[in-house]
């Protein structure tokens, strides 16, 4: 199929339908409204259900219901709306149901603003809802990846019976870029656990209440074991010019786009700089950082938040290299020249942390 020019939000919606998503529940919020718009227009004509719920809380619980029935289902929102969905996300993770949740991040805290941010990193990868659970979190860096990772999110959700979050931001959602939808078949799996009518079999029960500590602890350990296997198999990242690098930048999504341009600017000036771009934020790609941290290299974290990604980078580097930091907040997006200036200060000015 030829390339088309699409907004990131539209690419997510189209990819979801192609991945077999047949139910969408949402509630409007900027800057992700093109997702429900597209779904409202196209999902019914392609055999699915689109429903605007009365609130985010309703929408995520409709997702819970549809996922329990074995349907490929998605919801999307932006930061404050994801906070409202947090309880439902915890329930879905506890019930081990597959679904896709899209967060097109805007700036916060509180109602904040509507411009791009990465302030929900902790919420996405460290919890958000209550209790011990994990989401698989995928962070696209282009409109093409908005499509590709959304498609993949549905397969991963089914494979692991786990909610998957696509963590984008207002810039990736609103921008248009060429995107190609490759003809591929979704990896559909049997769902013997789904509540589909119980004809000729015992009823399936989906429930997250387990008040016997001995029993719940077993369940917690089983989940932990599943999360460990996901970490083994599903960690994704991209490396750019890191082999000979004296300084390695860590950045994802929108920040990584600017960082990559800054790497090119620095390389043109003869500075050896590279980039590791985490694509799965959970599981976090600790290995490439740990491997690169051989005591001779420095690191620079670029993010649109107050120091969130840097915690995971520091854990991975584990003291074997200085970790520098540059960020923008409040809807501001880091520019390649300002990241380049930071690189220059570190490598030529001998800037210490």
């Amino acid at each position: 199929m030829a390339k088309v020019l699409m907004k990131g939000n539209e690419a997510i919606a189209e990819a979801a339908i192609r991945a077999g998503c047949r139910a969408f529940y949402g509630y409007p919020i900027t800057p992700q409204n093109e997702i429900p718009n597209y779904m409202a227009l196209h999902l019914p004509e392609r055999g699915g259900v689109y429903l605007q719920a009365e609130s985010e809380v309703s929408a995520i619980n409709m997702v819970y219901g549809a996922a329990g029935c074995g349907v490929r289902v998605m919801t999307s929102s932006s930061s404050p709306g994801i906070s409202l969905k947090a309880e439902g996300i915890s329930y879905i993770a506890a019930a081990e149901l597959p679904c896709v949740i899209v967060n097109v991040m805007r700036c916060g805290p509180g109602l904040g603003g509507i411009h791009p941010s990465q302030g929900d990193y902790f919420q996405a990868v460290k919890g958000g809802g209550h209790g011990d659970y994990r989401l698989i979190v995928l962070a696209p860096g282009s409109v093409q990846e908005m499509a590709d990772l959304t498609f993949e999110a549905f397969d991963l959700a089914d494979k692991w019976r786990n909610p998957v979050m696509v963590l984008a931001d207002g810039l990736l959602g609103q921008m248009m870029e060429p995107v190609e939808f490759i003809d591929r078949e979704p990896q559909m799996v049997p769902k013997p656990w789904a509540t589909t009518g119980a004809e000729g079999r015992k009823p399936n029960i989906i429930n997250t209440l387990d008040i016997v500590p001995e029993s719940l602890e077993k369940r917690n350990y089983a989940l932990a074991e599943k999360y460990a296997r996901i970490a083994d198999e599903e960690t994704r990242w991209q490396e750019y010019k890191i082999e000979d690098a004296d300084l390695i930048i860590a950045a994802y999504g929108t920040s990584a786009r600017a960082a990559r341009s800054a790497v090119d600017m620095a390389r043109e000036k003869g500075m050896r700089v590279g980039l590791i771009r985490p694509i799965s934020l959970w599981p976090f790609p600790s290995a490439p950082f740990a491997e690169a941290a051989d005591g001779t290299r420095q690191f620079l974290v670029v993010e649109m938040s107050m120091g969130q990604l840097i915690e995971d980078v520091r854990l991975a580097v584990n003291g074997r290299g200085v970790v520098h930091f540059i960020n923008r907040l409040g809807g501001m997006v880091p520019t390649p020249p300002e990241i380049y200036s930071k690189i220059e200060a570190i490598l030529q000015g001998g800037e210490v942390q």
Binding site: K3, V4, E177, R257, R260
Partner: protein, 177 residues
């Protein structure tokens, strides 16, 4: 790499102009991004979009120092004139902008876009007149690619207006400045 800002009132078709440039760039196998100002905008308020057309992968789609700008109204001129690169191209709608420019280091192309559109019988086609003049000045994508992009970018209910759009582009390109 060419970084372009297109700005005007909401309703003047500035987002569509940007989409046509981006689509045409894509047809010519270039890297392209289009990024709108989004948020509490309204019809009659100001509105703009950034377009980047490049031979190489594009980092940021946000344009802070444009190589070129198409400016459709006075408030947008006030905002973007100071941001243009020295030697940058400024195409502006002289029907709605009556002030003198402050910069002297730009390639300036004033186009009476609304007057020309009115002569063509549809004042809403002013954006295509300005885009035509821009194509001739900036040569960043070919007019042929823009014409080919019309049927992809315009929604189907507007396809009847494509011949008028093409006519307006031609008038803009041929406009003597």
């Amino acid at each position: 790499m060419t970084e372009i800002i297109i700005a005007g009132f909401g309703g003047q078709g500035v987002l569509v102009m940007g989409q046509l440039l981006a689509y045409a760039g894509m047809l010519e196998s270039k890297e392209v991004t289009w990024y709108p100002s989004y948020g509490p905008e309204q019809r009659g308020g100001t509105c703009n979009c950034s377009v980047v057309i490049s031979e190489r992968e594009i980092g940021s789609p946000i344009v802070v120092e444009p190589d070129a700008a198409i400016i459709m109204n006075r408030p947008s001129l006030d905002r973007f004139e100071p941001m243009l690169k020295p030697g940058g191209i400024l195409v502006y709608n002289s029907t709605l902008i009556d002030r003198e420019l402050e910069r002297t280091d730009l390639r300036v192309i004033p186009v009476p876009a609304n007057e020309v559109a009115d002569e063509l019988g549809n004042t809403r086609i002013a954006n295509m007149v300005a885009l035509g003049a821009f194509l001739e000045a900036a040569k960043v994508v070919s007019p042929k690619s823009i014409v080919e992009s019309l049927s992809h970018v315009l929604s189907e209910r507007h396809h009847g207006l494509i011949p008028l759009n093409v006519q307006a582009l031609e008038r803009g390109r041929a406009y003597q400045y």
